[in-house]
Amino acid sequence: MNAVLEIEDLRIGFGPLEAVRGIDLVVERGQTHCLVGESGCGKSVSALSVLRLLPKRARFSAARLAFEGNDIAGLGERGMARLRGDRMAMIFQEPMTSLNPAYTIGSQMIEVLRRHRGASRAAAVDRCIAMLERVGVTAPAMRLGQFPHQLSGGLRQRVMIATALLCEPALLIADEPTTALDVTVQAQFLRLLADIQRQMGLAVLLITHDLGVVARVADRVSVMYAGRIVEHGATGAVFAAPRHPYTRGLLASIPVPGKIPPGGRLGSIPGIVPRIGAGFAGCAFRARCAVAMPACAAPVPEHRLADGHRFACHLGPDGAWSGA
């Protein structure tokens, strides 16, 4: 095994809210792992907790949080700061606000190299130019002197990824990096991400709520619902044979050309993600589930199939009541 990131039983809470309720996740070298789910199901906070960027008032615990084989759950702020931006990097959804409006692109890139590599200014500038070129930014030397507001959204996101890759990290976490971009720019950006990942042998944890994105780039996918991973497996296997009713609902809501009956509605799951507090038991999806039964209030069993494919539902792999 070549796991870059291993998470076991991660839990995050805000006050009475249980935002993440024990998730397991492994990202391997050279692999893109997608975390999907509707808004508010806990994707972002899970990702932030890996870099320990959660707000102070968040409750956080994990049975194991290992990065490149070392447990980092107990690492202090200083130790984490040494890893961030160097061995693990993160880019965010909002390229508009994620760059500091008061500084040039150059200033915001160079500081990473100076911090983690102790590079001289000149060396840092060269490296930044090379990296910008690599992510497809035209006229990179000029860009270094520009301010964020002078760049388009797509360019800014490229700058973000170039900055993230400066120190050749082992893990890149991207939290909905394409959501704020135009569709064409989105496609370009995903292609870029896939290229770079292949070239650098990067482990990527990609967060999205767009199953179309998952289908295009993911090796493995984890479907999250209300703070739990309800289904996980190789992308092909999950898309071909989704087992959890929630995954099925999500897949049914992707528009596929030619598949929508004339005048028919896109499949979508009625209702919203519940906010779950302490003491909640049973399946969180039961209120919206088409096949829910009274017994769904009992603790949910997990079923394991071939190739690490697993899902958590009272209905077993054969679709029959598994009688936990």
Partner: protein, 304 residues
């Protein structure tokens, strides 16, 4: 940018012109200036004489035109009291006022900005509450009373600092400190608010995700953005501090412009009063303009 500057400048000039009219009208508020000047026992003839000498017997618009014309050329006439030109009188008093004002705004920044940052970093804790209390008390304390109390404590009880005058550098400490209280609450709140917003901003999260040091995150990334309004506001606050110089200079017996104005008002020396009102107003307008300009310069989005 150029358009912005020209527009603000025009507006500033218009404001100054209005204040010119106001400061003239102010001294014509009472029925008869000459009676005031001549004193209660003056004879009708001597009043008439004063009236004529000062041109007070001419129609008001004529008086205003004559005064404004000279004022625009920097000639505010002669002081009734000191028998010297108002311009030179003010010039000789201006230095200490400006010195005290400059030290005061420096003190305000040195006190308010770190406290504001500290409060923002510890938002919601007792440190934040304590800093809020500093701002609250700073706003509530009457500055003349604070001055007197400081004189009692540091001048009389502890004997560390002189109780009046600016003979040594120590004399500057208390008056500047009292003056700085005009600006501290506003600047503290502004710094705190700006820092709280900045620390929550996405770009600070990015900075943390890049593994930068805490100092770099707080000072380079967060404070740079929080500082923009603070810098702009300190220019305006300097204007308020100058306004506060009247009270402070009287309390500490400092012979600055504020003291001069107070003395002149009490003795009916109106050419001086008019000139000081105008001076303060023009300074304030200038500082406000400067604040707009600094605000625009500091923001790369506006600088373009």
């Amino acid at each position: 940018m150029i358009r912005f500057i020209v527009r603000s400048l025009l507006l500033a000039m218009l404001v100054c012109l209005t204040v010119l009219i106001v400061s003239f009208a102010l001294t014509r508020l009472s029925g008869n200036l000459a009676i005031n000047l001549a004193g209660p026992d003056a004879s009708a003839a001597s009043i008439a004489k004063i009236q004529h000498e000062l041109g007070l017997d001419r129609p008001l618009p004529v008086q205003f035109a004559a005064w404004a014309d000279r004022a625009l050329h920097g000639d505010f006439g002669n002081s009734y009291l000191y028998h010297q030109s108002v311009s030179s009188l003010i010039a000789s008093h201006l230095k200490v006022t400006l010195q005290l004002g400059a030290i005061a705004i420096g003190m305000a920044i040195i006190i308010a900005v770190p406290l504001g940052i500290l409060a923002a970093l510890h938002e919601g804790t007792w440190i934040d509450t304590a800093c809020g209390l500093v701002a609250l008390i700073g706003q509530a304390v009457p500055s003349f009373w604070l001055g007197l109390m400081l004189i009692l404590w540091f001048g009389i009880d502890l004997r560390w600092l002189p109780i009046a005058g600016l003979a040594t550098w120590k004399g500057y400490i208390l008056p500047s400190f009292v003056l700085s209280f005009v600006a501290i609450p506003v600047m503290l709140r502004l710094t705190r608010g700006g820092m709280v917003d900045a620390l929550r901003a996405d770009y600070v999260r990015t900075a943390r995700a890049k593994g930068l040091s805490r100092a770099s995150i707080v000072l380079k990334h967060a404070f740079r953005n929080a500082a923009m309004p603070v810098v702009a506001v300190s220019a305006v606050q300097l204007g308020f501090i100058l306004g506060g110089s009247v009270v402070t200079e009287v309390v500490f017996n400092v012979r600055g412009v504020g003291y001069l104005a107070w003395e002149s008002i009490g003795k009916g020396d109106f050419p001086v009063v008019q000139a000081v009102v105008l001076l303060f107003a023009v300074t304030f307008v200038g500082l406000t303009f400067l604040a707009d300009l600094i605000g625009a310069m500091l923001d790369p989005r506006v600088r373009g």
